[in-house]
Subunit: 265 residues, 2 copies
């Protein structure tokens, strides 16, 4: 068994110090956690004015302040951490998530499906949905709007993910309900870590919907956060439950796929 | 606008006459309907003892009593009908659905993903998920357990289905909730027509969960039946709503798929 969960907080635009304090407080409040997921863009804020502003708040995935802090916390608390951040990459910036192990490994994933204005601000991801071996199990990573495309979680699960870690900045009303299907259809745990708060920038007002949640392989909700307050939660779970893809006694969810018939994918 | 809906009833094992009466009564109660979906195996019952029993209740998709009756009703009432039935095929029987238009066309689909004991009783489907042009719009057909595999509805939607017609004999608790994701992720209407009643055969007892439902392209439930009583419902909807795959103003759900990155499908 491991203990896994999420940290939900109010991300303040452009204030790395405040965001890092909120993240660290939430992480430290989850004593005994083996895996914690934080929101998307959890240290910069979300609604950038333009690419220059993204660049001004973007970080190096290995040596930036977020990587440095998460590596220290992961080692000190013996916890694997997944968090979204703005990545300074070659030729632009990416909406990325890093996975940091207690041993100091830092893995990176760049969001494949960019939402709305993100397309003007970020380079789209250039890699396949990744699954990482960690002390907390095999963790697949996808970011926010990636959930809308069932292919993302499907690929993660087919590649062996036991837990889908899902840093998010949700503003639409559908994800929390739809993640039920992502867990059930793939028989995986899923952890959606959302943020709260409102950003008012350039005449736009975006309110993030909280409601972070951890679902088991049957879609049952083991933990859910409030919609508008900081929260963290951890639950005990056995990642190996996700390895059994047999339901109803005889149906293997992956072996009984019919790829030759999926003509339009 | 069209009027579309479902007919939910108690299917009595092996009693074609009683089942046909229930089906016809439900269909006639939906006056003005353009599209109606009936359950899976809606004329035979579900829990066959063996292949011989399936064969004894299976029908020809063109000339069997179910096709004959549905063709007459479709023409008389000017309605497109989708219903599950046991199909007598070459080399065995299939768990199939027929789609019958008011003009007399009869299309057929053989279930791709067989559930539990169905694997001992039926041949698996040998065709891709089909989309049919009808006077009620472009209708994609899948049967019951096909829902569990997101590839099925995805293929239907990518091939232009506006409405997913989903005859079902549900015994597990997940489908009705998960169909929310099928409608949202594909921006299509979905009509799950389930049956009710219990079958006690050979020491097995199967209870079907009713709760037939019609969801719009945003997953909103426009009609839902009771869990344990016969029911029918029709609602007005515009199938063309499903043709607009743009959400949040700028995201095209299909054009922004990243097939080159879906390495495990």
């Amino acid at each position: 068994m491991i203990h896994a969960g999420f940290v939900q907080y109010h991300v303040h635009f452009g204030d790395w110090d405040a965001n890092a304090r909120a993240a660290e407080a939430g992480i430290r409040a989850c004593e005994g956690a083996d895996l914690l997921v934080l929101p998307e863009l959890a240290f910069s804020g979300y609604d950038f004015l333009d690419r220059d502003e993204v660049r001004s708040l973007a970080e190096d995935p290995a040596s930036g302040p977020t990587a440095t802090m998460l590596r220290e916390l992961a080692a000190a608390l013996n916890v694997t951490l997944v968090a979204g951040y703005a990545e300074a990459a070659a030729g632009g910036c990416c909406n990325s998530a890093m996975l940091v192990t207690p041993q100091g490994a830092v893995h990176n994933y760049r969001k494949l499906h960019l939402f709305n204005r993100e397309k003007e601000l970020f380079l789209p991801g250039d890699g396949v949905p990744p699954v990482f071996e960690t002390p907390a199990g095999r963790i697949g990573v996808m970011i926010c709007f990636d959930w809308f495309f069932p292919e993302t979680a499907r690929c993660l699960a087919l590649k062996g993910a036991q837990i889908v870690a899902h840093p998010s900045n949700l503003v639409l009303p559908w994800c929390q309900q739809a993640m039920f299907a992502r867990s059930v259809e793939n028989h995986v745990f899923s952890i959606t870590a959302n943020r709260i708060g409102t950003e008012d920038r350039a005449g736009r007002s975006l309110t993030f919907t909280g409601g972070s949640q951890l679902l088991d392989c049957s879609g049952q909700c083991l933990a859910r956060a409030a919609l508008d307050a900081p929260a963290q939660a951890i639950v005990a779970l056995d990642p190996a439950e996700a390895d059994n893809k047999v339901i109803a006694g005889t149906n293997h969810l992956f072996e009984e796929r019919r790829p030759a018939m999926y003509d339009a994918l």
